[in-house]
Symmetry: C3
Subunit: 437 residues, 3 copies
Amino acid sequence: MEVTHAELDELKQNLDQFFLIVNGMLVFLMQCGFAFLEAGSVRSKNSTNILIKNLLDSFVAGVAYWVFGFAFAFGPGNKFIGYEYFASAHMPDVQFATFFFQYVFAATAATIVSGALAERCEFVAYFVYSFLITSFIYPVVTHWVWSGEGWLSGGMEYDVGKVAYKDFAGSGVVHVVGGTAAFMGALIIGPRIGRFHSESNTTLDIRGHSVPFAAMGGFILLFGFLAFNGGSELSISNPGNGANVALSVVNTIISGSVSAFFTMLLQKTGLFGNQRWSLLTTLNGALTGMVAACAGCNVYYPWGAAILGFVAAICYKITSWLMVKMKVDDPLDAVAVHFGGGTWGVIAVAFLNKDNGILLKWDQESGLQLAWQLAGFVAIVLWTGFLSLLMFGILRLAGILRVSEDMERKGLDIPKHGEPAYPLESYGHGHIEKVLR
Amino acid sequence: MEVTHAELDELKQNLDQFFLIVNGMLVFLMQCGFAFLEAGSVRSKNSTNILIKNLLDSFVAGVAYWVFGFAFAFGPGNKFIGYEYFASAHMPDVQFATFFFQYVFAATAATIVSGALAERCEFVAYFVYSFLITSFIYPVVTHWVWSGEGWLSGGMEYDVGKVAYKDFAGSGVVHVVGGTAAFMGALIIGPRIGRFHSESNTTLDIRGHSVPFAAMGGFILLFGFLAFNGGSELSISNPGNGANVALSVVNTIISGSVSAFFTMLLQKTGLFGNQRWSLLTTLNGALTGMVAACAGCNVYYPWGAAILGFVAAICYKITSWLMVKMKVDDPLDAVAVHFGGGTWGVIAVAFLNKDNGILLKWDQESGLQLAWQLAGFVAIVLWTGFLSLLMFGILRLAGILRVSEDMERKGLDIPKHGEPAYPLESYGHGHIEKVLR
Amino acid sequence: MEVTHAELDELKQNLDQFFLIVNGMLVFLMQCGFAFLEAGSVRSKNSTNILIKNLLDSFVAGVAYWVFGFAFAFGPGNKFIGYEYFASAHMPDVQFATFFFQYVFAATAATIVSGALAERCEFVAYFVYSFLITSFIYPVVTHWVWSGEGWLSGGMEYDVGKVAYKDFAGSGVVHVVGGTAAFMGALIIGPRIGRFHSESNTTLDIRGHSVPFAAMGGFILLFGFLAFNGGSELSISNPGNGANVALSVVNTIISGSVSAFFTMLLQKTGLFGNQRWSLLTTLNGALTGMVAACAGCNVYYPWGAAILGFVAAICYKITSWLMVKMKVDDPLDAVAVHFGGGTWGVIAVAFLNKDNGILLKWDQESGLQLAWQLAGFVAIVLWTGFLSLLMFGILRLAGILRVSEDMERKGLDIPKHGEPAYPLESYGHGHIEKVLR
């Protein structure tokens, strides 16, 4: 007896779940990446604080996204929001792979914020915002775009056919959401003590305590981004899936590479301060290039990805420069990377995509595509910005957004966590080394 | 010509091997996780020592499990032990994927012990115990449960049908084995100098030298656990495999998340010392929740996993507290995490599993299931405990279990390894920095 | 209607691409491994410098391999070189997975060199050599061996049938290329200041600043090697693929494990300096064993892999010793690991392979195989050595190979990058800790 299509489809379904699970696992490791990028970028006195926040991101999301988030995002509902599958009740078993993959994305969106608020945010405030982002703010946006019934992916019918907002791996859905919330948070919480000096009108570069840790986090993020963007194909068993995944991964690398170079060179020109070969700037440039690649890495030619990365570098440096001008203190440059890169990523789809990108074919369809990309961007920014304003504003008014000035000066690790990152008494040897060779 | 079932089965077999290999690779990285969790948790003077032990775990197991372990575990044999495939002789090629996956598990079981003996164990003793655990003690237990012909997985026939010990990913097989050996080792080697003060009846919290390293190890372990538990499905090509793997992964995350929270809150109550938001405690709580999830993450509803994690948190804190009361010094809290979490994990299967868990359906079958879980637990503890007693007892009597008091005080890195973790002469710059911006 | 072979083949193709992509991702993480192995092995004053070089390796290759490298390597061409697919133009979409997998290999080859030139190489010189290696030197060698139309894989017809150079995962293609370039670079750039004292005829062991970082890098490399060697099967959907991949992974582990042990014991004998249980030496031994396994891990019995690892340990220690004798300064022992291990790996195929290895069957075929392995080795060394000589020679003559003596003494991080790895001002707490328990 020969193999039936039902049997083959069964196998395909399993294979697709395998694909989602493996990629989800690799994306899960990005929490470690964010944790060390941030830990290396803060002073040693706040290292334990930022690490536990990043650690908890996975756990907060593990509860919040399970109980509420997934239901709002992917539960059956209306064009705006889903309302089934709370606590995965009545969710078909076959959805668990999707749940897992989407959960790791949700955790990522929340993590972006912790960097921008680093070194001064209260622990309780952290819980509130990370819970709200992973349970509601982010899931609703994913419903609009990725659930299959949202208004942004539904688009509209025109003479030239349906046109809708496109955002493959979430330049807008993940990074503009995270970047917008990070900006509102950083704005409302205010700069770290000593960052901006109004009298002398100077800005102090408060350096992190460990370039190696920041670099380690960066390496892990670059690695995770491949699964983030590649995995967003969501299936591997259908004709063309493999090639699309590979193209997405390759474009992510090309965009990240080109952006890294140009960011490094822009820094080296001296237009943006320190005229050196800066590792941290180069790394942020690479990340911005990959963030920008999310929205359309599956629909660009590799040369398109190169252009994408080139512009991403400029977006990163300008956003970063603007943040300083606006005196908004973002210790990780998270807004520049995620909002800057994400914004450009959303828009770029309309310019660079193979089928109807404006650079390839300027017609009504490509114009409408640009309009939809802008509409999606504005909707995401307004939604996230308004709710973040509310959330951080209330936390501030309640006096629980920021630690006391005394604690900020002395560092959060000892009073909050009782765990200095490097306890002095645990260092040193009792031996005098005799190096004889 | 149409596709035959033979062809499809060939493909499925390859796919299943792929699944085992990828998951095995991710579990392999857990060695790095354990290494840094432990390195961060010891003082700087013993960092190289604990790192080389963790590094060697993979290599000791690479030889011991290949030559002996796999044969005892998965070689054809009787109900108690296998006795073919030594050095993979006559092993069918198709078994290599299984071999690899089981090898990385064996290395994990041995690694658990090194944490409990940290900062005072002789290097030669380390070799002896890690060799014996990976070549014999652990493999025999896996034969009982996972080989398909063991007495524990064989179970017995009752009126209600066959009932047997269930342990999907090894709460008992891996973690109770590792935890029991770790307890016996820590008991027999005795506490570190300065840990317990009998005169004042106080306990000194000997802190590790790097919270970031411990956190990094923790992140990698959380990541690896997803593959550890998900991969234990062992195949992906059969109907339902994908959904089972995803459910296992999701339950692992939910259990870990809930356990992390409750552990953190329990610590914050002040019932267990330091009344702070402790990163290291939270991390251990998460790990305990994942350890507990091993045995039945494939057969719980997500809400069951939440209950599992809640109780795991309590098991962790109580075991940890008991260890201090018993004056057994476990620098990593490995016993609390692995024995505490593993024990609860083994028992929980009888209470929480979808089909006949006591909380869902109290009848003869569920009672027998509980009996079998307890029987398996007792058998594993007796087997491992007795052999560990013998092993560590002989090492102690031979005077090669523990380093000298002088060396312990001064640290092991320089005299044993000639490699201080942070050689002083390699630090510092010759430049005076001019920070101009 | 039944499933057709066309449909099954479509699925298989997707599965194979999935296999390549996942393994490629894991190999990509090896950049992080190299980065930290190197960062831990240099002094703190040069940490940022070596980290940014490793970071840029991925980006340089991301551009160079895309624009030129892949075309020279896998573009249709002649026996010596390919000449299509520049910037992936006209490359079939189905090739992107292959492109990605080969790209991560190319980045690896370039990375090997940075270790040997650490602590003294100019930044611009770094760009030149990494660009040339990933765009031309390495790709041409891969064309010879892995493109399907190269002269080395083409071999020749003899009475006993076709015999050709065999190099499964690149002991020669990757590691001898990288090791040869590293040797030429280290030779031409000269030793670090203070390394060799001609008057007293002594050698100073310039230690790296962090054993934990080196160990972390090592762990990640061991992990990545499994995907490096396993993934080199290149497909998973054909009969036997799964077993071959698993065998390759297992042999990689066995070879690495045995080599680690013997290297450790060789060091402990005191024949090679420091008579201690050295972590760094053991780690390099393991890596050498895995490097040696590349060429034939798919065609050895596991006992063959054990022999392989045993000899690899000796090759490593002897090469390392020779380097010191020749007064060539290689801070990472990269030449000993990659050239030493790679050379033995290439040769070992002729001795140990299941089908016609000299140790198993000494006949004309096995003799010819040895001849081809040697021919391949010599060709690779001559090609890489000559071009490296030219490249590094010109850079030296141009005076842009090495930093000034003053900068070398004081460290590269501050003047070149403006980013000391551990900025002093970012350390310390304002709290006096009260440890109350």
